[in-house]
């Protein structure tokens, strides 16, 4: 079925909201001279299953639904939301938010006519409900199988925790021109954590993945079992790890998830809101060199089935592949509608919100660096003394000072061009505007992450993706204990 109709059926029909009701709410919003207005309807179904200690320990099913009403006037935004999708509630919300226009004058009554013409966006994922892609018993069987197979891998395994999460979300955005746009978004994720013990010493390893797909993602190609193998491998490597070095050194970052470097070091700093306000270390720097000429970085919401992908963003703008940095030169920012309008540029499909209860703002989708020329082995060989960071936990950035961190969870020393000992996890810290100028080699092995990223900004979490080829950075501070 056509997506708009699916969304109507999932959200509006159960609530008894007709097109005429949307016209009334929008009419109320537009009775003040606002620049933009929208109503965001959402209905999400979420489930999670956890296996731990050899048993299915937890299961939960959650429903979140509601609507957010927004009016924008200049740089001002009025916003109200409710989990009750009812006409009187939404009309009152509209009254509250249009008060953002304080002149008090009423506009010429603008009539909003809902347009039901379906718009044919490219589709990057299916609309089917992932929660129903397996029967509950099959989900349980899958968890058992992953747990069993993982536990068998090594006698040092003390505990295996496997979790499975699925989301099926319908969104519908009513915009001030009367157009209704909708999206149906599936999202699945599985995670395996193991705790290992050897001679009284404990360590843990964790691996997971997923995407905008259904549970077959974990069964086809045995992805789920691969997560278990990888979690065990990481935990065992960490059992052998010695103190990490401290200080500034050459760092080689592995491909895939280490792309969190790009997300933290430059991604956030290139979000439109910070740049419109002039609060980012990258503000006003379009056209300048911010990376070595080996670096081309994009934000791409159009990748099929990826965790960070979206057909349309939460303002109804189709997503794009946006070039952020091309051969080292800063090309542009990621925009939502408000910031694009105020900066006089086009929106880039990066207007995202955690839910109806949050305001949209510029956010990343899948952010990655394009591949270069070098063989990854050649990159390692070129380093006399340094750190090879293969896997990471989370990161954080101060977009004003440009300082960012990300924490290695699996790392090795490089000595005379060879990977030698494993070292304990350590935080790496650098300066966003110049870290990429120190990229001296870019591998040919571009890889995207396995689908685990969640990005937080202003208290709002959204799923994202990252990726990169193997990279060599001539000088990054490594926060170990071995001084």
């Amino acid at each position: 079925m056509e997506i708009l109709n699916l969304a109507r059926q999932a959200i509006l029909m159960p609530a008894g909201i007709q097109d005429g009701d949307i016209e009334k709410i929008m009419g109320r919003l537009l009775s003040s001279p606002v620049d933009a207005a929208d109503i965001y309807f959402q209905s999400s179904h979420f489930e999670s299953w956890v296996m731990e200690g050899g048993i299915i320990k937890e299961g939960s099913h959650n429903i979140e639904q509601g609507a957010g009403v927004r009016a924008v006037f200049g740089e001002k935004t009025g916003f109200a939301y409710s989990d009750r999708i009812e006409l009187p509630v939404l009309l009152e919300a509209a009254n509250n938010v249009k008060a953002i226009v304080r002149q008090g004058q009423e506009a010429d009554p603008l009539h909003c006519k809902v347009s039901t013409k379906p718009i044919d966006w490219p589709k990057y994922y299916a609309t089917q409900n992932p929660l129903k892609s397996l029967a509950d018993q099959q989900k349980i069987d899958l968890l058992h199988r992953v747990e069993n197979e993982t536990r068998k891998l090594d006698s040092r395994i003390e505990e295996v925790i496997v979790s499975l999460i699925g989301v099926h979300e319908h969104i519908l955005v009513a915009r001030q021109d009367g157009s209704l746009v909708a999206d149906v978004r599936p999202l699945v994720r599985m995670n395996v954590t193991v705790i290992v013990e050897q001679d009284g010493q404990r360590e843990q390893g964790s691996m997971g993945g997923g995407g905008r797909s259904d549970y077959s993602y974990f069964i086809d190609r045995d992805t789920a079992l691969e997560y278990g193998r990888e979690a065990v491998r990481q935990a065992l490597v960490n059992l052998e790890a010695v103190e990490a070095p401290a200080g500034n050194m050459t760092v080689v970052l592995g491909s895939g998830w280490p792309g969190i470097l790009l997300h933290e070091a430059i991604g956030h700093g290139l979000e439109g809101d910070f740049n419109r306000k002039g609060t980012s270390a990258f503000s006003g720097r379009v056209g300048e060199r911010v990376a070595s000429d080996l670096c081309t970085v994009v934000d791409d919401g159009t990748l099929a089935g990826r965790r960070g992908s979206l057909t349309i963003d939460d303002e109804g703008t189709p997503t794009e592949k946006t070039v952020l940095i091309e051969n080292g030169i800063l090309k542009g920012y990621m925009q939502d509608q408000l910031n694009a309008r105020l900066m006089g540029v086009s929106p880039t499909g990066n207007g995202r919100r955690e839910s109806y209860a949050h305001l949209p703002m510029p956010r990343m989708t899948n952010t990655y660096m394009l591949p270069g020329q070098h063989d990854p082995e050649e990159i390692i060989k070129s380093v006399k003394k340094g750190l090879y960071a293969k896997n990471f936990g989370g990161g954080q950035v101060d977009i004003t000072s440009g300082k960012f961190v990300f924490s290695a969870s699996e790392a090795y020393l490089i000595e005379d061009g060879k990977i030698t000992r494993a070292v304990k996890g350590a935080t790496l810290i650098g300066n966003g505007p110049d870290v990429l100028t120190k990229v001296s080699m870019v591998g040919s092995d571009l890889k995207l992450d396995s689908g685990v990223g969640t990005c937080g900004k202003d208290g709002q979490s959204v799923p994202v993706g990252v990726g990169q080829p193997t990279l060599k950075i001539d000088g990054l501070t490594v926060g170990g204990t071995s001084v």
């Binding site: 937890e58 954080q396 101060d398």
Partner: protein, 443 residues
Amino acid sequence: MQNHEHINHLKNIVQDILDEAAKQGASAAEAGLSQENGLSVSVRLGDVETIEHHCDQGLGVTVYFGQRKGSASTTDLSIASIKETVGAACSIARYTSEDKYAGLPEKELLATEFPDLDLNHPWDIGVDGAIVLAIECEDAARSYHQEISNSEGASVDTHQGIRVMGNSLGFLQGYASTRHSLSCSVLAQRGDSMQRDYWYTVARNARDLESAVEVGKKAAERTLRRLQARSLSTRQCPVLYCAETASGLLGSFVGAISGGNLYRKSSFLLDALDKQVFPEFIRIHEQPYLKGALGSCAYDGEGVAPQTRDIVSEGILRGYVLSTYSARKLGMRSTGNAGGVHNLTIDPGKLDYQGMLKELNTGLLITELMGQGVNMVTGDYSRGAAGFWVENGVIQFPVEEITIAGNLKDMLKNIVAVGNDVDYRGNIRTGSILVERMSIAGE
């Protein structure tokens, strides 16, 4: 509607949910319901930026079929949706395993006394009043110094919520609470150096908030002092955590003695009960019944009575932080900490902030930490940091782009002093904390 009446109304809904669970065959059930209303107003560069009206509600239910458990939640409180939600929880319980540790708390541990903790003080400030206050705050920051070059704005937030919870053991309680805050964030520029910092105040009662001008001035001062920060060379030295960052350090300690990490054996403080974890002068205790405090409550997330108790005395770990489930897994009893600790307080020492700087003498004052970088299993600790280099008790220059690293086990044992410059804005109350020695990585 009066709070009392409204709480009774919500109690009736919770009782209906519990009845519905019994009807659907659950042998035991627990349900929680919350409603919250709020207003957030933010201004930037002297004008309104956003006005947000918040209105949230949610219902969560957990059912037990013998030793099998299922949970569900919804934001839709219609009768049909409540039935469906209970049904979803029951359906999940068909697939979860028998878990002999699962179940409601022991009845005798449930709270039976419900003193008025003075948590509910609605603030009738209104949109216009909030705008005036936020502008006053931001103005104080922007006019503080000519190097204050830009602003992320100031905001006023006020929330009032009602929470009701009940279980099939006959527990059914509810209370109203409020939370108000005022915050400000500005930028400063000198040459190429651009920095941003913020300050905020938060309280149950608006009367207890710092003044708008004070918040603005502090935001400006904190931003200005960071200008032209530089890195340090790699070294080892003493580290003073300012009160705000010290609460994070204690937060890691709480994580390590929390039931979930203990029974999974993923804590660096396994089997540490009755052992020396801190130096002898350290006492850490919980104060759940403090009037008007942010972490106060008369019952925990399961209805269990929290305890006024020492978690650490004479540096020795006296108790864990346990919920019913994690306690049973460890062969112990719940400590009333389902949902976390309650006003965890480390006894302040004799020194104020200046005194603590003198005690540090020469070393690093940390005012901001970045990233996660804490391995709960091993205690390995490595985080990004910013702060100030201090010599002979006097701040020399701001520092950034460095990391501090160590092992939490050693760091806790090697605490040299705790200041009396206590930060009361969170659920963990501590002054600044001086750690004898850590590894600093920099340029």
